[in-house]
């Protein structure tokens, strides 16, 4: 029983890790997409 719980915990931990890493890298990609456009608007408005 405790073995099963440990395995479940491990699986849940991995799932959380997968979700967290995917979101972080997705946000980084989004930052680069929007960031460069903002950069140009800022540069153009100077």
């Amino acid at each position: 029983m405790s073995m099963t719980l440990t395995q479940d915990d491990e699986a849940e931990k991995r799932k959380r890790g997968v979700r967290r890493t995917a979101i972080v890298f997705g946000l980084i990609a989004l930052f680069f997409y929007v960031g460069f456009m903002v950069l140009i608007v800022v540069k153009g408005s100077k």
Partner: protein, 536 residues
């Protein structure tokens, strides 16, 4: 109970493998998706190759022979887009899908449904791009770099180009996120980062590059789109915009893109050379750090593509010197590969032959890159065939040979059959001879002043253009051996007898049966198994 046993037996028989079209359309298995990526890449390679044949046919003799200049320009533009985004990048993603889970001891990619979505975007993206050949005004013809204001003069193909680039970008970013998440979260216990095979390392670094730069390209083409249709003036000088800014943004993406195309090849060569030298890789950690250094430097060299556009002297010096710095980690890699072979027990099976050709011919491309990095010299070479020769040496015997080396290395593991070694050796020699006949004379043409992206040329360039075209036709025809070889291997190949197909092979993939089971590493490998497969 009996029913349960029957079901278990059924599962064992079928290995949980779906059948028919559903297996491919709804695919979530990393091996199926990897196979689809590789088949797609091969198809795009031949379509892009057919475009190259049109280019070489037109350039066989001076004067306009077969196609009008507009169509010729479409061919150069489309050939580049097909080969970069359609052939090489999906081929690497296919190899990553197949090999990363097998090599890190994971049961599949971390995000299987996203994996399916990443792949199935691609056929739509390329159908859209290819269908632009049939719209009024023809396919995009302003070069794959899409510089404004020229690109804004495209006809109906312009929005098709922009949308297809966006789709390709989305596919690449999602694929890269999947690779990073898999490597960081699904490694088997005991598979520490510095125990990972070099192919996994190079792909991890490539994925970081993809996540950082593909959105930049998407941002740049979004701004082109709004300039064209929504009245913005990001890159229109008349409205206060700056067309040169596009070039800076494009090459901020474009230079790391070169390393996206080549780093996984470094990983594959780092797997193959130790196997066929029967020695561990020399300087494993140095290889990892060299790869990371190359990736870092790739972000600070972009303006070497723009020396003749004009920039302050200090900027020219900075970009010249930072570009030359890349030779150091690249030199470390070449040194380590060579030292791995030193006093090794070498044999020359097709994967090793392609890896060795990679080593010699990629170095030629690297040296001409150093020549191009020198600012005053670049003023002479800019926009000549010397540049064409340089990047084709990097991408064909570099990236393409790397992919072929990888396929010849792992194909027996994938299908459980050995391919026709003799025919594969023929494929290697024909490819290597013709690739040099095709691209080496282009150095001479460039140094003599022949500009690139032209359908006609002065008569003094005739001889070397003829030689180059003959090399092109030879190279194109010899590539037909490749799909034939694979088909023959799958259908009629001799079954391989052991898990470890190559005597000197190391890594978790060689611990699995051949062919690799549909579901692998359901139970993570033990530490002893991981240690046996580790590089060092």
């Amino acid at each position: 109970m009996a029913e349960q046993h029957a079901q278990a037996g059924e599962h064992a028989d079928h290995d949980h493998k779906p059948h028919g079209w559903r297996r491919w359309v709804y695919a979530t298995n990393h091996k199926d998706i990897g196979t689809m990526y590789l088949v797609f890449a091969c198809t795009m390679f031949f379509i892009g190759g057919a475009m190259a044949m049109v280019i070489r046919l037109e350039l066989f003799k001076p004067g306009l022979q077969f196609v009008d200049p507009q169509f010729f320009n479409s061919m150069t533009t489309m050939h580049a887009l097909m080969m970069i985004f359609g052939a090489v990048m999906p081929a690497w993603t296919g190899l990553a899908n197949w090999m990363v889970p097998l090599q890190v001891g994971a049961p599949d990619m971390a995000l299987p449904r996203l994996n399916n979505f990443s792949f199935w975007i691609l056929p739509f993206a390329f159908t859209l791009l290819l269908s632009s050949l049939f719209v009024p005004g023809g396919a995009p013809a302003g070069g794959w770099t899409m510089y404004p204001p020229l690109v804004l003069q495209n006809g109906a193909s312009f929005p098709m180009l922009i949308f297809s680039i966006h789709l390709m970008g989305v596919s690449s970013i999602l694929g890269a996120i999947n690779v990073v998440v898999t490597i960081l979260n699904l490694r088997a216990p005991g598979m520490s980062l510095l125990r990972m095979p070099l192919f996994v390392w190079t792909w991890l670094i490539t994925a970081y590059l993809l996540i950082a730069v593909m959105p930049v390209l998407a941002g740049a083409v979004t701004m082109l789109l709004t300039d064209h249709f929504f009245g913005t003036t990001f890159f229109t000088a008349a409205g206060g915009g700056d067309p040169v800014m596009f070039q800076h943004i494009f090459w901020f993406f474009g230079h790391p893109e070169v390393y996206i195309l080549i780093l996984p090849a470094f990983g594959i060569v780092s797997e193959i050379i130790p196997t066929f030298s029967r020695k561990p890789l020399f300087g494993y950690e140095a290889m990892v750090y060299a790869t990371a250094s190359i990736a870092f430097l790739s972000f600070i060299v972009w303006a070497h593509h723009m020396f003749t556009v004009g920039m302050p002297l200090a900027a020219e010096l900075f970009f010249m010197l930072s570009t030359m710095l890349i030779a150091i980690p690249t030199g470390v890699k070449v040194f380590n590969w060579t030292t791995t072979m030193f006093r090794g027990s070498l044999t020359f099976e097709p994967p090793m032959l392609f890896a060795l050709a990679f080593l010699f011919l990629f170095s030629i491309g690297g040296f001409s890159g150093l020549m191009l990095a020198i600012v005053p010299a670049d003023y002479q070479y800019q926009d000549t065939y010397f540049v064409v020769a340089h990047f084709h040496y990097v991408l064909v015997p570099g990236a393409i040979f790397g992919i072929m080396a990888g396929v010849y290395y792992w194909l027996p593991k994938w299908v459980g059959n050995m391919y026709d070694m003799k025919l594969a050796t023929w494929h290697f020699w024909l490819s290597t001879i013709f690739v040099n006949v095709l691209f080496f004379p282009q150095h001479f043409l460039g140094l003599a002043g022949m500009p690139r992206r032209i359908p006609d040329y002065a008569v003094q360039f005739t001889d070397w253009n003829m030689v180059s075209s003959i090399g092109g036709f030879g190279f194109g025809l010899s590539q037909l051996l490749f799909p034939y070889l694979i088909w023959k291997c799958v259908k009629h190949g001799e079954p391989v007898k052991s898990n470890r197909v190559w005597e000197g092979a190391h890594g978790l993939e060689w611990e699995l049966p051949s062919p690799a089971p549909y579901h692998s590493w359901q139970e993570p490998p033990s530490d002893a198994v991981i240690a046996r497969g580790a590089f060092h």
